[in-house]
């Protein structure tokens, strides 16, 4: 029998068997996703929050995921988008930090450098048309200066006193522009927590992929602190009085 005319058993056909052939494949949509991240500067440093949900489409699939990563002693990373791509990035950043540790030169990688490193990876991936499907917010204190930066799957970067990803861009940013912009130096930790809670509550009410179990991170001169998961007080009795579309 001519060996080339052998039919493969059905278990060996399909993507696994043909991965080496055919068209190259790329991520065209995220699969397991995290929703918004919200972050802003305040008097002592920066504050960031994200919920603990990783959705599978509209299914609330993983309800105890941490979307805030402590990168080093001065930097946190908040993530939305594909959680698999995030885990890949997390792995990469851990390698970068190990490399820094091994150098043993008394120099720590600052927040700005972490942000640049992350941005370069994201821009590189998008340029190879193989993006990591995420929006990241990097926050920290670098040489006494508060740093807050955004980068996404297009490699787009920008810095501002207040930032958000995903639905947060539409729902949290207007609140933050009113309550934070121009007065980041005056906001106490107590007020920062109140502002953050308000933003996360609005997102919880209106973003169907948001979840009432979240973590809050703060970075100050003292270092990084990521809270244990907590919940916000909500009041759904308003819902009854909402009349309009679909009611």
């Amino acid at each position: 029998m001519d060996p080339v005319s052998l039919e493969l058993p059905h278990t060996l056909r399909g993507p696994q068997a043909t991965a080496g052939y055919g068209p190259t494949t790329r991520t065209t949509q995220p699969i397991v996703t995290g929703t918004s991240v919200v972050a802003f500067k305040y008097k002592d440093g920066i504050m960031m929050a994200a919920d603990c949900l990783a959705s599978y489409g509209s299914l609330a699939r993983f309800r105890n995921e941490n979307r805030l990563m402590k990168v080093n002693e001065t930097t946190v990373l908040g993530v939305s988008g594909d959680m698999g791509d995030f885990q890949h990035m997390k792995h990469k950043l851990e390698d970068v930090m190990t490399h820094e540790y091994d150098m043993d030169d008394g120099q720590a990688l600052g927040t700005k450098s972490v942000y640049k490193c992350l941005s370069n990876i994201m821009y590189g991936r998008r340029t190879n048309i193989n993006p990591l499907w995420n929006s990241f917010i990097v926050g920290g204190v670098d040489g006494g200066e508060r740093v807050l930066g955004y980068v996404d799957l297009y490699g787009t970067t920008y810095m501002a006193d207040s930032l958000a990803t995903g639905f947060g861009k539409h729902l949290a940013v207007p609140i933050l522009r009113r309550r934070v912009e121009g007065r980041a130096d005056e906001i106490t930790e107590e007020e920062a927590v109140a502002i953050m809670d308000d933003c996360m509550r609005v997102l919880l009410y209106r973003d169907c992929r948001a979840f009432n179990k979240l973590r809050r991170a703060k970075v100050t001169a003292q270092g990084v602190e990521i809270s244990e998961p907590y919940s916000l007080a909500t009041n759904w009795s308003y819902a009854e009085s909402i009349v309009g579309y679909g009611v």
Binding site: H91, E94, D95, T98, H99, Y101, D102, D104
Partner: protein
């Protein structure tokens, strides 16, 4: 050792008639010319110490380190050629990184020792290469507790409770054998290690030297790190005091 190899010492790809590979033995000689390096595995961690011989007073203190880190949790101390050492440390880092990339876990001591051993051994096989003139001491705390390995120029790697390489290895080994390693804490071991390095130091041959001390223990967060300055200063003080005491003893002996 027969230093005249009668033509059998030109390449690692040729055995001598009595079954030796002279180039590997010469590499061992290169190690024996180096400042002493020791490792102590104790009950709650591992300590590394090196007698870094300085050829000039102009060198910045704590520069040109001979104890380095590979992948956060592994300490590498070495005796022998520093240039070869740096190459091997790079390899150790690559191995640690590679293991982490595949398994998302820190590489266990046994595995990195084995991989380093295999790598070094490959340089004893081909006439186109020279064996490494380095003995590498690997220190690590993994899930099986404190670990200490030494990789020789031959590629042989062995686990130890305490080990030594370099000029003063005989003195150092004798001293290490007197210790009850399984009862010591790292805090105590640091002082002992300093004392041993000072004892092994030969003032007549090398005047200038610097003690390098590192550890892997709970106090360093189970990461490999050079010991803090105050711990180092204490250890040096302890080492100098015990040297003086020995000198006093000798003087008394002479008096008798």
């Amino acid at each position: 050792m027969t230093s005249i190899g009668t033509g059998y010492d030109l390449s690692v790809s040729t055995y001598s008639p009595d079954g030796r590979v002279f180039q590997v033995e010469y590499a061992q000689k290169a190690v024996d010319n180096s400042g002493t390096a020791i490792g102590l595995r104790v009950k709650d961690g591992v300590v590394l110490a090196v007698e870094k011989i300085k050829h000039s007073r102009l060198l910045v203190p704590q520069s040109n380190r001979r104890i380095m880190t590979a992948g956060k949790h592994i300490g590498v101390a070495s005796a022998g050629w520093m240039s070869d050492t740096r190459h091997l440390v790079k390899r150790a880092r690559d191995e640690a990184h590679n293991y982490h990339s595949v398994y998302k876990a820190d590489i266990p001591a046994k595995i990195i020792a084995e991989r380093m051993g295999m790598y070094v051994q490959a340089y004893t096989l081909y006439s186109s290469v020279r064996p490494f003139g380095v003995s590498t001491i690997l220190a690590c705390v993994d899930k099986d507790g404190p670990q200490l390995y030494m990789v020789e120029p031959s590629g042989q790697f062995v686990g130890y409770r305490g080990c030594a390489a370099g000029k003063g290895k005989q003195v150092a080994k004798t001293e290490i054998e007197k210790l009850k390693l399984e009862e010591l804490t790292v805090r105590e071991a640091v002082k002992e290690a300093a004392r041993i390095i000072y004892a092994a130091h030969d003032e007549a041959k090398d005047k200038l030297f610097e003690l390098e001390l590192s550890w892997v223990c709970a106090e360093s967060g189970m990461l490999h790190a050079h010991v803090p300055q105050d711990v180092l200063a204490d250890a040096i003080q302890h080492a100098e005091r015990s040297l003086d005491e020995d000198d006093d003893d000798e003087m008394e002996d002479e008096d008798l």
